[in-house]
C-alpha cells in the first residue's frame, strides 16, 4: 500500500461512525442483555476490532429502534465492473439498506442457474477478488457510499487469497462482512477469527433443516443472521412454504442479532411478508435476472425494482 495515511483516515472515520452507531443503539435500548455496555469501549481499546460493524445501521432507525431492511444482491463484474459501480449507488438511492456483493466463484454450489450464470459472466469478463476490493474502495471513496456492504462468496475465494490478507484488505477498503454459504457453524472459527480481528462480521446462516442447531448458530452470530427460507439453492420461487416465522422465533430466543430472510423472494408481497416475519428481506436472483436481461442498460430497471421492493419492506417500519 502506498498511502497509509488515507487508510488510517478511513479507519478513523469508520471508528467514528461505528462509535456513533453504538451510542445510538445503546442510548435508547429497551434493556436487552448487552444494553448496559458503555458505548464504544471495545472499539477504543482496539480500533481495528470494532465491536459492532456498520451492518447494525441497516437494521436501526435514527431513533435507535429496530427497522426492517431491504438487502439486494448483485454479482460483482456482471457483466462488467463498470455496471456494478453504477448499480450499487443506484440501489442505495432506491432504498437499499445493505448491499450484498457476490464475488464470482467458478463453481457456486449453493446457487441456482441465475446466479451461476452471473458468476460465469463476471469471470468471463476477467473479474477477480482484487477487482471486487477495488470496487468497494471506489464506492466508499469517490461515490461516498455509507451503506453497509458485505461480500457473498465461497470459502476458496478467501482461502486462496490468504485469510489474513483477505481480512486486512477487506477492512482497508471498507467492507463490513462476508457471507460464505459453504462454511457451516463447525468450520466457522477458521474464517471468523481473521475476519473478526479485522473488524468484519462473518454472517451466520440458518436453514429450514437447522432445527436444534439454530440455538448454537445464533449464540455467536454477528452482524445479521441470514435465514435461508427454503430447501434447495438460490432462485425465484412461487411461494415459500417453510415456517419462517418459527425459525425467526427460535433465533430470537438465542440472540438479538437481526435476522434477514433470503432465497426465493422476488415480489414486493413476498418481501413484505418475509420482512414482516423478521428484520429484513434479501433478494438476489430476481435482480441478477434483470442484469442478465438488460446487461449494461440494467441500471434503471434494477433501480425501479429495488425501489418497489424497498418500499414494500419500509412500509412495515
Amino acid at each position: 500500500m502506498t498511502d497509509n495515511n488515507v487508510d488510517q483516515k478511513y479507519f478513523d472515520d469508520a471508528y467514528t461512525r461505528a462509535a456513533a452507531t453504538e451510542a445510538r443503539l445503546f442510548a435508547d435500548n429497551d434493556g436487552d442483555a448487552q444494553g448496559s455496555r458503555p458505548a464504544g469501549d471495545a472499539a477504543k481499546s482496539q480500533p481495528f476490532a470494532l465491536h459492532r460493524s456498520r451492518i447494525a445501521t441497516a437494521f436501526t432507525a435514527p431513533d435507535g429502534s429496530r427497522r426492517k431492511a431491504f438487502v439486494p444482491f448483485v454479482t460483482v463484474g456482471d457483466p462488467s465492473i463498470a455496471l456494478t459501480e453504477k448499480l450499487v449507488p443506484a440501489m442505495v438511492d432506491a432504498g437499499a439498506d445493505l448491499i450484498e456483493l457476490g464475488v464470482p466463484f467458478s463453481d457456486p454450489t449453493a446457487e441456482g442457474p441465475v446466479i451461476q450464470e452471473a458468476s460465469n459472466r463476471a469471470l468471463s469478463a476477467g473479474t477477480t477478488t482484487d477487482d471486487a476490493f477495488a470496487l468497494v474502495e471506489r464506492l466508499r471513496g469517490e461515490h461516498r457510499i455509507e451503506t453497509p456492504m458485505v461480500f457473498m462468496t465461497y470459502s476458496n475465494v478467501l482461502y486462496s487469497y490468504g485469510l489474513e490478507r483477505f481480512a486486512r484488505r477487506a477492512a482497508e477498503v471498507g467492507l463490513d462482512g462476508v457471507i460464505l454459504p459453504d462454511v457451516p457453524h463447525e468450520e466457522k472459527p477458521e474464517f471468523d477469527e481473521p475476519l473478526a480481528a479485522a473488524g468484519l462480521d462473518l454472517v451466520s446462516l440458518i436453514a429450514p433443516t437447522s432445527h436444534e442447531r439454530i440455538r448454537s448458530i445464533a449464540s455467536d452470530a454477528k452482524g445479521f443472521i441470514y435465514c435461508v427460507s427454503s430447501l434447495g439453492v438460490t432462485g425465484v420461487r412461487k411461494e415459500i412454504t417453510t415456517d419462517v416465522a418459527g425459525m425467526v422465533r427460535e433465533v430470537r430466543a438465542a440472540t438479538d442479532v437481526p435476522v434477514a430472510i433470503g432465497f426465493g423472494i422476488s415480489t414486493p408481497e413476498q418481501a413484505a411478508k418475509m420482512a414482516g416475519d423478521s428484520d429484513g428481506a434479501i433478494v438476489g436472483s430476481a435482480i441478477v435476472r434483470l442484469v442478465g436481461k438488460y446487461g449494461e442498460d440494467a441500471v434503471p430497471y434494477v433501480a425501479d425494482y429495488v425501489r418497489s421492493m424497498a418500499d414494500a419492506v419500509h412500509a412495515l417500519n
Binding site: 467458478s106 449453493a110 482484487d130 476458496n156 454459504p181 463447525e186 435461508v228 430447501l231 439453492v233
Partner: protein
Amino acid sequence: MTNSPNSKGRFGIHGGQYIPETLMGAVNELEEAYDHYKNDPDFLAELDDLEKKYAGRPSLLYYAENMTKDLGGAKIYLKREDLNHTGAHKINNVLGQALLAKRMGKTRLIAETGAGQHGVATATVAALFGMECVVYMGQVDMERQALNVYRMRLLGAEVRGVTSGTGTLKDAVSETFREWTRRIADTHYCLGSCMGPHPFPTVVRDFQAVISKEAREQILEDEGKLPAAVIACVGGGSNAIGSFYNFIGDEGVKLIGCEAAGRGIDTDRTAATMNTGSLGIFHGMKSYFCQNEYGQIAPVYTISAGLDYPGVGPEHAALKDSGRAQYVAITDDEAVDAFEYLSRTEGVIPAIESAHAVAYAMKLAPTLPKDQSIIVTLSGRGDKDVAAIARYRGEDLHD
C-alpha cells in the same frame, strides 16, 4: 493455518465439512447412522453376503506372468476389481452406502458420475434394492460415454445431463449436491469417491478397503511376504485409498497413486492435482485442487473421464503431506500404451483409468529385483473405452 476446533473428519489439515448449512443435518444423520451400522453384525453380514453373492467378491489377485517376464523385474500381480459385477470397484462402495441408506429409511439414491461406472453401479444397486435413482452426468461425459448412459437407463435410473461449468465430473458433483439441498428427507447422496464433506471420505474408504484387505491376505498366501509396492490410479481416489488402506501400517510397502497428467503436467491440459494443484477448499473438503491464484477451480483435461476431476480426496492429500504415499503423473500417451500393452500381453483390457496404474507398473517393475512383487489395482474393465482408444489411434469405429 489452523482448522476450527469443532471441525470433524480431518486427515491432517485436510477434510472437514465445507457445505451449506442446509446439508449439515443430512451429513450428521449419515455420520450417526454409519457410526452405528459399521459395528452392527447384521449390517456387516448382509454387506458381506451381497459382496460375495452379488458382486462376486473376493476379486482375484492375478499373477501377470507374461507381463512380469516381458518387463524382467518384480513380479506383477493384478488386483482384479474389473471382474466385479458392473465391471469396476465402484460396486463395493455403492453396496455399502445403499444398504446404509436403506437402514436410514431413504428410498431414493442420487449420484454423480464421470465415466459412468459409479452411475452404473448406483443404478444397479438401486434396481436391486427397489430404490429410485437419479444420476447426474456432465453433458460432455454423456457424449463420451453414451453406452453407459443407456446402461443406466436400462437399469431404471434417470440420467440428468449437467451443462453448467465444464459439463464434466466436477459439475456433476456440484449438481448432485444442489439436488441434495432440494430434497433431503427421502434421498441419500451416494457419493462415488473418497471425497466431499465428512463422513464421505471415511465411509467410502471403509467400503473400498475390502480391496486391500483381500489383496494383503492373497499376496501373503501367494508370495509369503508383502509386496514392494501397491499401485493404483487416482482421480478422487477411491480405488487407490481402498488399495492402500490395509497396507498403510506396512512401512516397507510403497504406496503409489497415479494421476492423470493428460497432455503433460507442464501443460494446462492436465488433471494431475497432486503434481500441479495447490491447497484449497471445494466440494466440502480442504485438499489439493487445480485452481488459479484467485481460487477459481481450473478446467482439467485427461483422456480418462473417470480421472477428470480437479481435486483429490483429503486422505490422499494427507498421505502425500506425510510422505507415506507418493503420487506420480501418467500422460494420455503412456496410459493408452499401457491399455494396449496389457490387452496384448495378458488378454486383459483395463479401463483407461486403471491403465494409468499399469503404465507406472511398467516403469517400476524393471527397476526392482525378481524376488519382489508389486500389486497393481485394475479398478475397472476397458470395454467402455474401446471406441475412444480407437479414435485416439485415428480409427473411427462404426457400428
